[in-house]
């Protein structure tokens, strides 16, 4: 099974070989509320860790999704263009945003494990 890691900005990264899928956590989608628009980058775009990888807009506000690691955008989730609520319905599955081809696999070491993220979340409240 693919390993999943997390950022403090509530993104998740599913690692499959040298490619990662990026989305936001259930906690993040709940904080955002109803998602009404998702803006995705162009395939082929190179992003650095911390760059804006996507923008997700709820009824009230726009929020950036940051690239957790550096890489090249190899696929975007086109289904979100027509059905942005997919982010609310299945944030950690079908509601993913982009797939990145890793530029530096070492950057993954700086991300949190699932257990560490759960601890981090519990300390937020």
């Amino acid at each position: 099974m693919a390993e999943t890691k997390y950022t403090k900005d509530h993104e998740w990264v599913r690692i499959e070989g040298d490619t990662v899928t990026v989305g936001i956590t259930d906690y993040a989608q709940e904080q955002l509320g109803d998602v009404v628009y998702v803006e995705l980058p162009d395939v082929g775009k190179a992003v650095k860790a911390g760059d804006e990888a996507a923008v997700v807009e709820s009824v009230k506000a726009a929020s950036e999704v940051y690239a957790p690691v550096s890489g090249e955008v190899v696929e975007v989730n086109e289904t979100l263009a027509d059905a942005p609520a997919g982010v609310n319905e299945d944030a950690t599955g079908a509601g993913w945003f982009v797939k990145l081809k890793l530029a530096d696999a070492g950057e993954l070491d700086g991300l949190m494990s699932e257990d560490a993220y759960k601890t981090y979340l519990s300390e937020l409240d």
Binding site: G33, D34, V36, Y37, E39, V55, E57, S58, V59, K60, A61, A62, A81
Partner: protein, 377 residues
Amino acid sequence: MADIHSDDLKTTPLHALHIELGGKMVPFAGYDMPVQYPLGVLGEHLHTRAKAGLFDVSHMGQAFLIGPDHDTTAGALEALVPGDMRGLGLGQQRYTVLLTDEGGIIDDLMVTRSTSEDDDGRLMLVVNAARKDVDYAHIKSRLPDGVRLETRDDRALLALQGPMAADVLARHCPQAAGLSFMEAASGTFDGIDLHLSRSGYTGEDGYEISVAADKVEDVARALLAHEEVEPIGLGARDSLRLEAGLCLYGSDIDETTSPVEAAIAWVIPKHRREAGDFPGAERILKELADGPARKRVGILPEGKAPARAHTEIHAGGTVVGEITSGGFGPTADGPVAMGYVAAGHAKPGTDLDLMVRGKPRPAKVAKMPFAPHRYAK
């Protein structure tokens, strides 16, 4: 928001009920208010348009202007606003604006004449929460002898809005059914005295209900007990009023904007234009004659990306204005916005570019409202 401590925030008499109902509380105009309930902004918005939504608007300011007779009290208010206050009938309500001497808008407010001859000479004012102190100081400083302002912090205010509001309210308060849009009455709700007007801020038919602060929870719980009624937070209140094309003070109007620029010149009737006897008349009459340099318009973005407040508006590569309210309109099922543009770009159908995240996105000037008004005329 991090620098605002909840200890500093005021609460309404329904604060405990908001928390009991699962309201997500945020600071708003100095109050700890529900931005949404578990139904969510989208669901609350659509529910209000389909059935009925209950809003706690107790943070707004309620006050009475009290004089010896209607003509004296209305005359005192007419010195501060451009509307026809003397012409209000018993129980009639009107939307108007407090003006600076330069013709800017200090606040927008609802004014209602007493519902009975017994206490005529009183005008009820409902003003914005964030402007209460400014409004009250301004009014008090300019009242003639014999007319006084009485603020009523002991009153709470509810709004029940939506196509089923009239039916639901009439089950408790028979006086509700007889009112038309912008009419007020005194009544009782399961034996509780209240003052209600057929008005609101969503574009839907509905009521605003003023009731003693210590009785408001009983009224709110009785209304929420009906399956047609859901509690609605500030998030949906904002998207509903935006779709209805209504101004939010502090976003779409402020002391720099005149009623003509704000496209609410209809608040100034003909006889007051002719008399020119209101604050800022020089500027306002000139704008009425020559047209204002900038104007508030509706804007429909062509793509799906919402354009938020403060988005720059371009045309032909130059800045021609700014979005003042914008977001996703659940009833319009797409992005909607309003903002100010230079007069030459204000005609419906005019092409604009909205600079969202640094990129120009095509949009058009559009007629408002974005969702049809359904007032009970």
